[in-house]
Every structure is written in structure tokens, then in C-alpha cells.
Symmetry: C4
Amino acid sequence: MRLTMYRVLETSTGKKRGMSLVFNVVLVTIITLNAVAIVLHTVESINRKHAVLFRDFEFFSVMFFTVEYLLRVWVSVENEKYRNPVWGRLRYMVSMSAIIDLLAIFPFYFSLFATDLAIVRILRIFRIFRLFRISRYSHAVRLIQRVVADRKEELVLSVMFILFMLIIVSSIMYYVEHPVQPRTFSSIPATMWWGVNAMATVGYGDIHPITPLGKLLAGIAAMMGIMLFALPTGILTSGFLEHLRLQKGARNYCPHCGKEI
Amino acid sequence: MRLTMYRVLETSTGKKRGMSLVFNVVLVTIITLNAVAIVLHTVESINRKHAVLFRDFEFFSVMFFTVEYLLRVWVSVENEKYRNPVWGRLRYMVSMSAIIDLLAIFPFYFSLFATDLAIVRILRIFRIFRLFRISRYSHAVRLIQRVVADRKEELVLSVMFILFMLIIVSSIMYYVEHPVQPRTFSSIPATMWWGVNAMATVGYGDIHPITPLGKLLAGIAAMMGIMLFALPTGILTSGFLEHLRLQKGARNYCPHCGKEI
Amino acid sequence: MRLTMYRVLETSTGKKRGMSLVFNVVLVTIITLNAVAIVLHTVESINRKHAVLFRDFEFFSVMFFTVEYLLRVWVSVENEKYRNPVWGRLRYMVSMSAIIDLLAIFPFYFSLFATDLAIVRILRIFRIFRLFRISRYSHAVRLIQRVVADRKEELVLSVMFILFMLIIVSSIMYYVEHPVQPRTFSSIPATMWWGVNAMATVGYGDIHPITPLGKLLAGIAAMMGIMLFALPTGILTSGFLEHLRLQKGARNYCPHCGKEI
Amino acid sequence: MRLTMYRVLETSTGKKRGMSLVFNVVLVTIITLNAVAIVLHTVESINRKHAVLFRDFEFFSVMFFTVEYLLRVWVSVENEKYRNPVWGRLRYMVSMSAIIDLLAIFPFYFSLFATDLAIVRILRIFRIFRLFRISRYSHAVRLIQRVVADRKEELVLSVMFILFMLIIVSSIMYYVEHPVQPRTFSSIPATMWWGVNAMATVGYGDIHPITPLGKLLAGIAAMMGIMLFALPTGILTSGFLEHLRLQKGARNYCPHCGKEI
């Protein structure tokens, strides 16, 4: 029976595939409804009308997630990786996936004793990650994961380089604009708020240079920003292409001699 | 005669190619003029001057489109897919293309009895899609269609991932900025308006964080947005490349027997 | 002597290469100075101080460009394409390059009789295109030209598709926002000003939706804009890759059998 | 002993690899702390509280960097390139890396005699480039460097082309908007501030056209900007792909003899 439950909860292929799909659809629906509830809960007018509904749904969700969590811990020993009844279960409980599940229910029990911690409620949204485990998208998820993992070094470097240029540009801008606009460009950290929005080409308009030199620098920063952000785009694209080639590379056979090429 | 009409209306190759081209140019011209009329119709000063012209052109367009629609239904049985005189025609009438054509003329007849429904007039613009059927662009349209269809899973996933990050970022931002700006960041849905414009780097400037923590989060969101939007770009580019390679793939040789494959 | 002059003026390789380079550097310098003069001329404080200098440089430039134009017409018959003394020269005079050269000097002579036409002075900047003919960059220019020419159909289609979506989105937005903001969203053309800035993620902040439905639509428009603008990026990238492969493809030889591959 | 010191200071592989790593971590930590200090130093409230700490850390950093600089000059002769005791050291001192190191400590000694030059303090941040020498990232750095070097011509051309279009668009916009908004679009250089932010899609909102013709031009400029900035993205991506293919190129076979090439 534990094996059956394991198949329903954790696998999306093989036996009990239908049951597993049904369970996953129910789970994803409840998680999505939770996300909707968390978002709508903050709209004053809606919250006032449906306060009881929100509280009841909150209670129901936490109960459902608690039972699910306990079941997952119970059946975890069916997994090759967590064979040992005690240590295996403990090792499952410190896995990324299990911690996210626990964080989603923990705040509720905590709030029974302490005051409400609004920010921890967001943790429940992270459970939406489960959505990506549905088999239909698992292929695409794995492709994206592998490409990002493969190009990790180049991507980290791009981000580091962007951060580095951000500090340089903001520092120079501070010394250029501070004497003229001492309140908006009050410090380098304040100027970095301008810097990040200039290089990412957001431009809210609450802070921008007014001196000719500052404007010249801002123009260079905007162009540089686009060039710098072209790096991760190029890196990701080349990664996608290589993976797609590898996938199809193994499947090519010569129609004349029949050998793999 | 029905076959001749079919060739003029529906095909852009083979016999009656010249007639078909002439008809398509006339059709596209009328559709384009309709788009122009719909757009200019809303400019007060132009509408006041040429009110009669707009009304007459509206009447003429609807008549033209009605005759065209009836003809298309009549000749549809010439198409392999809609052979049956009754069921074939009905099946043609529920095809995407025919529904759009009907929606373009329906509002006019409806408004004879009911009040004017301004928004449905926009449906007429959708007929501009016919523009893409002109043979000159049909190759490029098909290429783009195939690439998008081929990469559908990855593209849907990218959009889902962007939406997911949007909810997470907006939820956190709400709890950070709400206490300081209770009116602008009034709820999570209101904060999502900030979120989408920050991640897409639009930045209208009507809503932006003012706390240091909020600004840090906004900077991270802007960078993350660019990275996330690099995913669909990379996916589309790799898709284009693969399709172009398949088309020109004739240059591959087997390493074992040396023959072209 | 006409041949020598032709080599100096028109070719950047072969005999008289040194002379040609010197002449090109002088020409590009004068064109660049013209661009600087045209730009700085509009700064009130600079114009007042150096009014005489600007006028003299204007006169000198036009004289130089006039002599150069006449010489180019004179030597044009040395070119294979324009052999005939009369018709060849006339055909050269209606070539793109010659027309730009003429447009750069024409306004000056015209203004001796008529009033000053400020906007035509900009035509002189177009001569900066000559800059791209310097041999160092000619390879890169040709690469970019070929890629754009090769992908012309797809690029035109992308632009058409962007324009089409712009009309659709702006029309819907007009009917959503007009009742609430009748002055900013006064007509569909006015709303298209919002539309183009939303889809290109500029966001000046002078016009943006305030209704929830309008904000939802604006969010979709921003995301759609990024996706749509990813199309030309992907198309251009794939074009670059293919050309680079073709260039290198012809140069590959097998080290074992020596045959081209 | 000089050789040992050389290995610790300059190499990150071979003998003394462990020592070298420890030294590099210490160096990068001090440089990073310097960057943090330079940034936080400008925040009034923090500077007032920790003025002594900032001064002491400044003194310590300069001492550390001075000793490090002198050691590097001393051991530079161990490098193949700088064999000669006198000329080799001098040649090392005028290398890019050594000049940056000197510029990082020079301002301090200069300020003992002269007034404080705030802007030169930024030079110290440039030392953060040393961060990129840590072996973990050296592969990725070299890849990015090679790609940029390989596509230098095309990238320079793209930037030139963007600048050229910027001048053209701004000049036309000036003549269109100047009569209506003489204060914001006061001159072509002032209009170029609009131009760069429009083409890079920043859009601060402090300057934007209000005439219909100006708005049309701004819409075209925004679209053109995205297309133009797609060029460097495409160029970089194709560069990345080619380099990665060269690295993995071992999988190519000759179609004639079937051997690997």
C-alpha cells in the first residue's frame, strides 16, 4: 500500500499513472487557488466581503498540505535514495523539495502561538514549482535547467560584469551629478538606483541626470547596458542550440551505409 | 464556374493566378482602408468633417464582405476537405478563417436592431490576417509559424515562468512597500502592475519603490526580467536556425561511406 | 590623368591606394566636421560666439563638395558601368550615391535665391555614409548588408506583424481607457503613441492606463512586445550564423585526402 | 625566494597554487571591501558614524596595495616577457595591469600634498578586475574576450551605425519639435539626450515629443532602436556559437575519405 501511495504521490509514469495525474491536477489546483487567494487577500474590498471564505480556505489548504507532507515523508523510503527507515526519511526531510513543502505549512502552526507573519505566507507560492513537475512540461523544464547549468560560469560572469560596471558607472555619475542635484543623487547607493534602471533601460523618471556630462554618461550607460545584457542572451541561445544538436546528434544514421554518424 | 470562382478566391497559385492576385490586392486594399477608417474614425475633428464618408464606406465594406463571405461558403465544397454539399459547407463555416470573416460583418447587422457596439468593430481589423496569405510572404509566414509551433512547449514554459516570477516578486514588493506607500502599492494586484512594467523594463514612472529594500528588489527584478525575456529570444533563435538547417541540410555527408545524406 | 583621379576618388585598392586613403581621410574628416557643425550650430550660446566660423566653414564645405561632385561626374566614365561619355555620366548622376552627394550641396545654392531651409541641411549628414566605404569596415558592412538582404522577407514580415498588433492593441485600449481618460486617450492614433512606447518598452510616462482592465492589457502588450521584437533578433542572428558558415565552408579541406569538404 | 613570491603573486596554477589562491582571496576581499567602503563612504549617516573606521581602512588599504605593488615590480623579472632587471621592470611598470595598480595608490600620496580628488578614488574600484583572474572564471573570461575580439569589427560598426542613426533622428526631431517646445528641445545636442533614451528604450519622461509628426518619428526611432540593438546581440551570439563549435569541432568527418578532421 505504501508503494501504491508512493507511485501516486511521486511518479508521473509507470503504474498508477492515471491516479498520479488526478492527484497532481488536484494538488496544482489547490496551489494555484492558494496563489490567487494570497494575491486577492490584499485587495481591501474583496477581503472585507469574503473574509470567512479566505480563513476557511486557508485552514483547508494547510490541513491538506500537512497530510500530504506526512504521507510524502512516510512513503519516501520507497525511493532508492532514501532506503533507510530512519536516516532515509531524515535525509528526505532536508531535501530542497521537502523543505519548501514544510515552509508552506509551518507559518500557520507558528501563527497559532505568535502574531501573524504576512511575509512567510508568500512561501506557499513557491509550492507552485510543483507545477513544473507535470510530465507534459518536464522535458522543456529539463532542457532549460541543463542549458542554464551548462552555461552557469558564463552567466555568473555576465552578472558579475554587469554589477561591476554598475558600481563604476554609478560612482562616476555620483561625482558628476551630486553637486547639482544633492538630494536625488545623495550618495553612491542612491545613484545605483539610477544606474540599475538606466542599464536595464527601465527609466522610471524619478531620478535622471541634468548636467550635459551626466547626460552623456547616461547615454553611454544605456548603450553599454544593452550590450552587456546581450551577453546572457547570446550565451543562453548558444546553449540551447548545442543541447538541441546533441539530442538530435545521437539519432542520425546514414541512409546509405546505415551507420550512426 | 464555381471552380473558377474557387480558384480566384482561395488559391494563389495554379490557374487563374492573375485574377486571384487582382482580387487579393482589392481585398487587402479594402481591409487596409477599413483599418485606417476604424483608426481615424475616433479622431474627433476628422470624424466631424467626413461623417458621411465614413458611414458610406462602412456600408460599402459590409456589403462587399457579405457578398465575399457568401461566395466563399458557396465555393467551399471545391476544397478537398469540405466535399459534402451540406456538412462540408457547415464545417467550413466553423473554420477559424470563416468565423473571423463572419465576425467582421455580423456587428453591422446586429447594430441595425441593437445599439452600436464599438468594441466589436475592431474584429474587422482581424481580417488583416488575410494580408499574410499573399504568396510573396507565405514562405516567411510558414517559417515563423513552424518555428513557433516547434518550440511551443518551451515558449509556454517561459511565459509561465515569467508569470510565476511576477507573482513572487510582486508579493514580496507589496509587503515591503505597502506600509510606506499604502495608496500606490495598495494590494498585490496593484503591485503586479509595477511588477510587469519593471520586468518588461517599461517603467512608466507612475508607481515605483521608495524604500532602500524596495529599490534593491526592483533592481533585481529588472535584471531578472531581462534574463527571463532572454529565454524566449534564445528559444526562437535556435528554432529558426534548426529550420534553416533542415532546409539546406543537403550538404551533410556520411563519415563512413562518404555519400551525401 | 582622368584614370589617376578615378583611382584616387573611387577605389580603395590597387594603384594609387595611398593617395586614395589620404583623400578618403580628408573627405571623412570634412563630413564629420560638417556633422559636428550642424549639431553645434543649434546650440544658441555656441552659435552666437562662432557665427562667422560656422558661415565660413559652411562656404568652404560646399565649395569642396561641389568640386568633388564635378570631379566624380567627370571620372565616372572610367567605371565599367558608365562607359558612354554622355549617357554613362547621366546614369552615374542618377545613382543613389551621386544623388546623395548632390543633395548635400544643392540646398546651399538654393538658399542663395530663396529663404533658408533648415531641414535640408540634414541631408549633408547622410554623406557620412561614405565613412562606411573605407576598406577597413567594408567587409563588416557587406556582411551586415547581405544578412539583412537575405532575411528581408522575414524582417519585413516581423515589422508588418508588429504594426498589425500595434493597431489591434491600441484599438482595444482606446475603447477601454477613453471613457475614463478622454483627454489622454483621445483617439486611436493618440492611443497608438502609448502602444508603440509600451510594446517597445520605452514608457515615457506621459500616457498610461489607469483602469484595471487597461493595466492588464498594457501588461500583456509589454510582454507581447518583447516576444515580437525577439523575432527580428532571432532572424538576424540566424542570418549571421549562416553567412559565417558559408564563408568558412568554402575554405575547409580534409587533411587526410586533401579534398574540399 | 623571488621565484616563490612570483608564483604566489602572479600564477594561479603549478607550484605554490594553494598559497597563490589564499593570497588572491585576501586581495579580492580587500578590493571588494574597498569598493564597499567607497560606495558607503558617500552615505552621510554612515560616514558620520564610522569616519575613523573609513580613514583607518583607507590607510591600511593603501599600505597593503603599496607593498603589493613594490613586490610585483620586484618579482616581474621572473616573467619571460620582462627578463631584463632594469628595462624589464620598466616595461612591466607601463603594462596596463601595473598602471591600474599604481593609479589605485597614487591619489592617496598625492592628496597628502594637494586637496582631495574624489573622482580619482574610483580608480581603486578598477582593481576589481583582478577578481576575474581567479582560475575558476578564467575560462569564461577568455571565451568572452575572444568572442568580443573576433567580432570587434562588426561590433564597432554596429556602434558607429547606432551613433549615426542617433544623429540623423535627433537632427530631424529637433527641427520638428523645436518650434513647439523651444525649451526642452533647445538644440540638437539636447535632442540627442532624447534620442539616445528613445533608441535604447529607457524613456525617463523628462523630454518627449508632443506634435503628431514628432510622435510618429519617436515611434519609428524606438522600433529602429530595437532593430539596431539586435545587431550586436546577433553578432555576439554567432561569435559564441562559432567558438564553442571550434572547441568541440572534433566531431567533423571528411565526406570523401571518412576520417575525422
